[in-house]
Subunit: 199 residues, 2 copies
């Protein structure tokens, strides 16, 4: 019976966004209604398109509305024999932002987690297995997160590479550049000592 | 030529929300795509409905998709002869949350600001003038913000009430309840001294 139901529905719907509670949802709804209805309509359109049309790349599993993503279809990326394995599409964005990598990717969309019932095929390792079998991959760079699950996943994929005779490497972990030694946690520091390189 | 254009459009569109920068937009987009496409579609629908169908109440100017809002059409609210004047619909939400007020509202959707060319008719004072002329209003409670513009607007409306022989009152300003005196700014403290009440 409330006349404001459409506004309440909007506030409720905005809360599906991560980090948005009742207060921010209200602020967002009023902001759009008062100042930017055009922006609100564009957001509605972009959301509805993205949610229905974006799927996964058939080569690397990242998000794309095409069958194959623009990285996988890039001939220069194909000529480079490297594949960088990451947990999420956001990790690709971070690596691309460095401008230091020109190979292809493979997105697990998660990591191995036996306790949650997430096994190799749930993170696309059957597809990765197939890609390694084709013979155009020279090196697999394992860039999963430095967590227990990420390490275990990297280890599992390294075994897979070994079975295919493909080199596997793990990105370096240690004291962040520009970070202060005394502020780094003990595990990272131990890791950085063990992983020291000769000068 | 980028295959990820639909994702980029979504991230760009999300930035129309207040407080959402490139990083949060990316986090929101990935979150919806990975975990809550249904929520994303519901948000698209709620946004598109709200942006096209929500207008202003013909009595109090608050947001509603009806001609007249649920507060203005409530007979109990009408029987109460009070009208509380606020700057934004968010202020109504704050006052309603106290549970202490059972009259009607009038939303200015801003305040007088001659330098920005915002005069009486831009904040609906012609409509308020008409409502005061009908004769069913006994008291106008001025709850505009305690800013220079809010005070000037309250003063202007008080004159309007006087012309119609309607009582006008201003909500009390002073030290917030539960606040510590030493943390309150000087203007507020002066105001609270001048506005002292006999015990
Ligand atoms: Zn791809
Ligand atoms: Zn109303």
């Amino acid at each position: 019976m409330r006349t404001s139901s459409m506004l309440e529905q909007l506030m409720e719907a905005l809360r599906c966004l991560p980090g948005v509670g009742p207060k921010s949802a209200q602020r967002m709804a009023f902001h759009l209604l008062q100042r930017n209805r055009k922006g609100g309509l564009q957001l509605a359109e972009a959301l509805s398109q993205a949610m229905t049309e974006i799927g996964h790349c058939d080569q690397c599993r990242t998000f794309t509305e095409q069958d194959t993503c623009h990285v996988c279809t890039n001939p220069k990326r194909q000529a480079n024999g490297q594949i960088c394995v990451v947990e999420t599409p956001a990790d690709i964005a971070a690596i691309e932002a460095t401008g230091q990598y020109s190979g292809r990717y493979f997105v697990l969309m998660g990591h191995l987690s036996p306790l949650d019932g997430i096994g190799p095929s749930d993170i696309g390792l059957d597809l990765l297995d197939y890609r390694l079998s084709i013979g155009d991959v020279e090196e697999v760079i394992l860039a999963t997160n430095p967590t227990v699950e990420g390490e275990a996943t990297a280890h599992y994929i390294a075994q897979l590479c070994k079975a295919h005779g493909v080199n596997a490497s793990r990105i370096a972990h240690g004291v962040p550049m520009g970070g202060e030694l005394e502020l780094v946690d003990g595990t990272t520091l131990s890791h950085s000592l063990l992983g020291r390189q000769k000068l």
